[in-house]
Amino acid sequence: MKSRTDATDAEIVQECLAGDRNAFGVLVDRHKRVIFNVALQMLKNRDDAEDAAQCVFIRAYERLGSYKPEYKFFSWIYRMTVNESLNRIRGRRETTELHESMLVSQPEEATKATTDADLEDRIGEAMMDLTPEDRALILLRHYQEMPYRDLGYVFEIPIKTVKSRLFTARRRLCEICRQRGITPTGGLA
């Protein structure tokens, strides 16, 4: 018999809908890291990101009955994450300036690690200069390897727009890297 951890998202959703509330915990465990990091990339604040991610999962559970498996489950909750994060960003006052201590902090040991790890940290910091949507777009595309079609669903834009936005976002990120002097071997800068 297939164990729950081996079950697909769609199968677990069915278990939840059949009344097995605990099955939802598997979905949370499975997706919480990326959901949290997408929210973190967009909100720049760990507490806000954690709160947003929690809201997303709670809402997803409450809406499971309306979930239509035309798209993958994770696309569905990533869409909620992007919307939730954007709503929170819009709710913030424009004049609010994030205190240094509120900014996303990278693990201290990472900054002391190898050159590659340092570059990875620095590109993470560079991404913070992108718009929230572009950060999420790049993260979902290049970290999560989400297909264009699913990205279109998440961001509610046509596939062609997904491509052009990615193109623009990456070009912007390259420019930011140049300004920050981020020069990996072969050089982004």
Binding site: L17, R21, V28, D29, I58, E120, R170, G186, L188
Partner: protein, 239 residues
């Protein structure tokens, strides 16, 4: 810089290259594209490097108790729409045998199952039963709280049902912070009917449209829709 179509094609080709699914012909097309446009070639180089860096970017972990907190906050099984529907079905048969007569005036029973969620996700269930329904004011008491959590923070609620329905659905605006599901069963002119409403968005605190589903015969539905228009707006005190 390249036009939108070129960018679109470039994006497709280079992504195919990264994913290892590009054909020989497409590889040649990409090569030609990069040779013809220096900015694209530069972008392609940066693309590969950036993808590597982004993929290697350390992700942070949420709190260790994240899953537990989510699971503690989601509604209990007894609050699920399915279980509420099951309970309602059980009540409906009994109710149908006792509630007779016209929609107004004679004995008529409505049962509202309210699933309530407080902002901090404290949940409660109230089965709200109204006997001798009075269109001028619906006031009742909580007659069954099998799984109720102790905390009641709502003092009043408002149910607005718009008569602008189409077919067998009525759009109802129910600006209740705390209600998740509504079920109404009863009879009208000796015919059974049932209403159920599901909140499409789960977060409390939002005014959202409910879709109320009606089941019953065609004639009864016509009458019911008309009567619901009369109900239109009604305050319900939750004691």
């Amino acid at each position: 810089m390249s036009d939108a179509n070129t960018v679109d094609r470039f994006e497709t080709l280079i992504q195919g290259q990264i994913d290892g699914v590009i054909s020989d012909a497409e590889a040649q097309e990409l090569k030609d594209l990069l040779a013809a446009d220096a900015s694209l070639a530069e972008h392609a180089e940066a693309y590969h490097q950036m993808v590597g860096l982004v993929k290697g970017m350390p992700l942070q972990d949420p709190s260790a108790d994240f899953t537990n907190r989510v699971m503690a906050a989601i509604p209990q099984p007894e609050m699920s729409a399915a279980s509420l529907a099951a309970r309602s079905a059980g009540r409906a048969a009994d109710r149908a045998s006792t509630a007779r007569g016209s929609f107004f005036g004679t004995r008529f029973r409505l049962a509202y199952a309210f699933s309530a969620v407080a902002m901090l996700a404290v949940a409660a269930i109230f089965v709200f039963q109204l006997a001798d329904f009075d269109p001028q004011g619906a006031t009742g008491t909580i007659v069954s709280t099998p799984d109720a959590v102790q905390e009641v923070t709502v003092g009043s609620a408002e149910l607005i049902i718009s008569p602008t329905e189409t077919g067998r659905q009525i759009q109802a605006i129910v600006p209740l912070d705390l209600i998740l599901d509504i079920e109404v069963t009863g009879t009208l002119a000796s015919e059974e009917f049932a209403l159920s409403a599901e909140r499409p968005l789960g977060l409390p605190g939002r005014d959202e449209a409910y879709v109320i589903r009606l089941t019953g015969s065609g004639d009864m539905m016509t009458t019911l829709r008309s009567e619901l228009g009369e109900i239109a707006k009604k305050s319900i005190e939750i004691k």
